[in-house]
Symmetry: C2
Subunit: 154 residues, 2 copies
């Protein structure tokens, strides 16, 4: 919990005092754009690894080693990106469910799991056990799905 304290302080302040980064963008849209951008990055690096784990594309060890490092890094981005007021966009549409605002404890829990499994993948991917690497990609994929099931509209 202490680990998150500075961030929480930062988030409260962000809501209160952050300058609008684009004059023509509402605060809600700015927040939605941020969340979607973070997901685009996660998807970019996880996607090919997921396909490799299911033998839907050739396994490329060097690429998995690089992408898993990046994914573990991205997983650690602050999770508290669902401040009040960003449940609905002005110009942008969000597919985040209401639960992201009403069940922060669970959101943190599933995010922690994603952080853990991604870190483990980055470790396993340094080795040569392709079967273990593929299995761990699957474990990360399950954390993606768990969060999407609970917090993302279809």
């Amino acid at each position: 919990m202490t680990r998150f304290t500075p961030y929480i302080a930062g988030v409260l302040m962000l809501g209160a005092a952050a300058p609008s980064l684009a004059a023509d963008e509402s605060k809600a849209d700015e927040q939605i754009k941020y969340r979607q951008s973070a997901m685009t990055l996660v998807k970019t690096y996880f996607g090919p690894m997921g396909a490799m784990s299911q033998d839907k594309m050739p396994f490329d060890k060097a690429r998995v080693a690089q992408y898993s490092e990046i994914l573990a890094m991205l997983a650690k981005l602050p999770v508290d990106q669902y401040p009040a007021g960003s449940e609905k966009g002005d110009k942008l549409k969000t597919r985040a469910k209401a639960e992201a605002w009403t069940d922060g404890a669970k959101l943190k829990q599933v995010n922690d799991k994603f952080v853990q499994e991604s870190a483990k993948l980055a470790q396993v991917a340094k080795g040569n056990d392709v079967k273990a690497i593929k299995a761990q990609i699957g474990a990360v994929g399950k954390t993606c799905k768990a969060c999407h099931d609970d917090f993302k509209e279809k």
Copy 2:
């Protein structure tokens, strides 16, 4: 494994540089979306620090320490996100200049500078010298501007 099949289903198309993540999205648009997403994240974390360094918002040491760590991490994302074919989007507009494709050496050079100055900021931000921290935020800002000047349309 089968649990996350639906998620994977959308991410199977693969090119050398970028996997196709959405069936209705062209490869060029996908690449542009990735680049813009990465920039959105960079802006989200650099923006408030830039404002603090210019006394446009109150200096918050804990927040700068956290954001500078994240920025240093984001700075290390692979720079090779300008593959041939992504000079122009289908549905999306890019403001990347032609030089991003014709002067890869310089692009790498300015990116390396961004990586270095961001890493230095994350170090300086661990200390208590607010003047030095603000100066280093300024140094990072210059690397943003240098790249935008050469590689981004106004």
